[in-house]
């Protein structure tokens, strides 16, 4: 399965269809038809999986880079959405006059700000998915270095 990032597909289908390679399989309705072909054909049980040297992977500089990249996005994004979200109850709770000012016809700031939260959430999810496609590539390169695929 290709985990790589393709800009054209990204812009045509949007992040949601892009990340969801399963979409074309939607014809597989309920359980009447045959099950999906498993994405990986490894039938080995936990016992006969190779012993993995977790420490070696953890010590690899590429692993540290992967973790750092993830945290560099996740921590600021989490702080941002928590502040953005709680600004709403704080605003309408303690600054009602400010929030009740009209900004478009009879529409007030309180409603517009509440409405904007939906787009904030979708935008952050979009950024996350975009970044995560890059993490997937790093992850696969890292695992390949140790002779594994993400299917191990």
């Amino acid at each position: 399965m290709d985990l790589g990032y393709r800009p054209s597909a990204f812009f045509i289908w949007g992040p949601i269809l892009y990340v969801d390679m399963g979409a074309p399989k939607m014809i597989n309705i309920v359980c009447m038809s045959s099950p999906l072909p498993p994405k990986n054909n490894n039938n080995e049980t936990a016992e006969d999986r190779p012993i993995i040297d977790w420490g070696a992977i953890a010590r690899d500089p590429d692993f540290s880079i992967l973790i750092r990249r993830k945290l560099n996005l996740i921590i600021p994004a989490t702080v941002f959405f928590i502040i953005y979200y709680f600004a709403l109850p704080i605003g309408v709770g303690w600054f009602p006059d400010f929030m009740m000012q009209k900004i478009w016809g009879d529409l007030n700031l309180a409603y517009a700000f509440a409405f904007s939260q939906f787009f904030m959430s979708w935008a952050l999810a979009f950024v996350y998915v975009f970044a995560a496609a890059g993490w997937d590539r790093r992850q696969n390169a890292l695992l390949a270095k140790f002779g594994y695929t993400s299917k191990n």
Partner: protein, 532 residues
Amino acid sequence: MNVPLLLSTVAQPVDGPSQISLWMFLAFVAGTLVITYFSARKSTGASAYFAAGRSITGWQNGLAVAGDYMSAASFLGIAGMIAMNGYDGFMYSVGFLVAYLTVLFIVAEPLRNAGKYTMADVLAYRLSPRPVRAAASLSTLTVSIFYMIAQMVGAGVLVRQLIPGVSYEIAVIGVGILMVVYVVFGGMLATTWVQIIKAVLLITGSLFLSVLVLNRFDFDLGKFFSSLTAIKSTAANGDTVVRNFLTPGLIFKNPWDQISLGMALLFGTAGLPHILIRFYTVPDARTARSSVVWAMLIIGLFYIMTTFFGFGAAALLGPDYLEKHGGTNMAAPELARLLGGEIFFAFISAVAFATILAVVAGLTISASTSFAHDFYSNVMHHGKEAKPGDEVRVARITAFVVGALGILIAIILGPGVNVAFLVGLAFAVAASANLPVILFSLFWKRFNTVGAVCGLIGGLLSSIFLILVSPDFMKESPLFPLKNPALVSIPFGFLASWIGTLLSSEIPSDEKFTELTVRANTGLGSEKATEH
């Protein structure tokens, strides 16, 4: 015993319009039972039963997560709150979506990478498994069962209003039997498809409702919002009051209540066991990620539409009309009756019924999975099955027992009980007991068994205690002023985990932490999809 009773009621001749509702209910039930039948034929083995063979695709799981999450309380409750009091109801809608950022950023992928069937798989990974699983199972069962009882009481009240002639008890028993049938026979696969169908129905119904509302305003949003600035209603003392429904603060007078509720939603969703187990049904972390994004799209669309049908009911019907026609919960169905006649009323009613069934089925499977996998297999039998298939057998028995208990308690409590606190409790426990422990076990190397048990039990007990002394329970001079305990119980959950960890001399092994970190971040060694 109860089935003939149910059928005899169903067979009674009822009036024209309610008969349409009834046929739509029955069509949904028949459809889901067919799915259950085919799932049951396929569902063999633990991975198939608990995790649908990890064969669910991203968009399917996204719909199922949305179907698992959007309860009747959201559909009917929020619509009603907006219809009766305007803006404040919409603030609920916002929190329900933003909460998924916590799920996406922090829990979905690590959980899928490092776990097998339950949240406790990740918690127990590097700690002493038996006490941690026992505590996690207790918190999961508490959240699932309380939440389920709230849904069942809601179902009983609702069905009684939607189809005259069906009593509260019969409605509760009917919902209980159906959810047990889905879970016992169809396992996770049938539950997933019930949730997917429900999500599609709910979105379709809301979309129709919203378009019909906007049609009344010539699709002019300016006109729509202007109509909300002067909504007439009758106050308790009989005076007619005119209120601007876009004004915040018509329900919530204490801003701290809103902050506390917001915390419960934002941090509780990522700890709800019935949502977390959904991420084990997909083949890998990448699909788990895409399923959260699908769920966010659907959940966001739905909650945005609460604007149109909630405010639409306020503008087109008005609070006084709703007060006379079934109260808060009937805002969406009554609006449908006004805009689309009896057939549309029947359709929206059937959607509400489907909504309840999908949520209770999700709760039943999460309770039974946790009991069978965490408590029976791992606590009582040290992770070894006495004979193959034991875990699934125990899960089926548990689902049956949980369903029977749910029916019994919902009937004993009766239709008059205030169930809002049960839902609040579920989110508060998930936020205060589950999330701190998930975070610490993933990110804090020193975190140990005592810390996990203290966090789970402390978060659980503090939430329950604070609810018992909240205004919902102690009408006069409550000890705790807020309706939702999250503002205090979440910090308490973190504190209990931290103090518990420091008080114990147990230092968990570095290797196990390294292994969990590598697993959670790369998916190496994660549970694979199985052949059916």
